[in-house]
Symmetry: C2
Subunit: 213 residues, 2 copies
């Protein structure tokens, strides 16, 4: 038996969801809320297995709802509900802690399947959103991710980012510690930074954030 709570401000769609989910014997409606504020009050004490959250709520958005309430609901999964396939907010909702979503135009069967998939440890989502998530993984290794650094400098920077000392890096690369030091100085110059950590950050920011948000 999967317990489900619904947070949806639109009366019509909320009732529709309730009706569709009541049909299935293995689903149990736990709580029904018409605003994020109401849900924030009630959810922590009444944790469902799955919370279906409309992404566009009145005062607070569904994303804010998840962010505030998630720390208290370790065992609840959030299923976002959006009107549009390619809503940018769906991606942000997934980042905030949602695990999947359904569209408002979905059929009864699709909604039920999404819930089952979610409960089985899957993440139902459209290919468009999936790509945005995947792009975070790729981190642009392909093209100009070197920031003007030479391959040797990238090598040194990579070892630096593991927390190795100059001596340890020089042993690994079979060069002198002075040379490592020298590479670092050049790296700092090119990245316009003053120390290891800033260099590492600049590097990983470039690799990660190009695709983020």
């Amino acid at each position: 038996m999967i317990s489900i709570s619904i947070i949806e401000d639109n009366n019509f769609y909320r009732e529709l969801l309730v009706r569709v989910l009541k049909e299935k014997h293995f689903l149990k409606i736990y709580g029904v809320y018409s605003s994020a504020e109401e849900a924030i009050q009630e959810l922590p004490a009444n944790a469902p297995d799955i919370a279906i959250v409309d992404i566009k709520l009145k005062l607070k958005s569904g994303i804010e709802l998840i962010e505030t309430v998630k720390p208290y609901l370790a065992n609840t999964q959030f299923l976002m509900c959006s009107g549009f396939q390619n809503d940018e907010n769906i991606f942000n909702a997934l980042k905030a802690g949602a695990s999947g979503y359904i569209m408002k135009g979905s059929t009864e069967e699709e909604i039920q399947n999404a819930i089952i998939e979610l409960h089985n440890g899957g993440s139902p989502m459209s290919p468009y959103i999936a790509r945005k998530v995947i792009n975070l993984l790729h981190r642009k290794k392909t093209s100009d991710n070197n920031l003007g650094l030479s391959s040797r400098e990238l090598e040194v920077l990579s070892l630096l980012s593991r927390g190795l000392l100059y001596k340890e890096i020089s042993d690994q690369l079979n060069i002198s510690a002075n040379t490592v030091k020298n590479h670092c100085k050049n790296i700092y110059k090119r990245l316009h930074v003053q120390n290891k950590i800033e260099a590492i950050n600049k590097f990983s920011n470039y690799n990660l954030q190009a695709y983020a948000s």
Copy 2:
């Protein structure tokens, strides 16, 4: 017109793919390879829009193929082809640079749709794999991500991770640099590390890698 190359060592399935894709007027078979080695040789000079790669190849796996060949194929998208829904390697393939996948049991229509979705900027994948990707986003903000550090120590560590010096941190927190130094020493002890970078890594590893792989 979408140009497609196929890397598949199984003769039967390779020919089946060719036949299915030839049916569609907007798809053009570009190259057909029966091993990763062959593809590594040929692909860089003959870049297709989409490369369909079997995940299990003889000597080198499809993942290795992508890793070695991707730097030369900035405009090619990789569509993995696997026998199983929940093949762990699919997830690794996505990390390596693939953008979606199809299953060997897929219908002709599903294969064609996956290609179209991929070409339109989507990432076709199953909910199971999607979840593994999503979990990377969540980073376990919820529960015990503090590693036994006090809130003040977390504060210091957070500022450290931006590359600030002791003095800069002490100014920001209105405490003495000696105190910051002291917090660091305690942080290092608790995390069993020797320097800033290792501490930062341990922290972010805990937040990121708990779900990875």
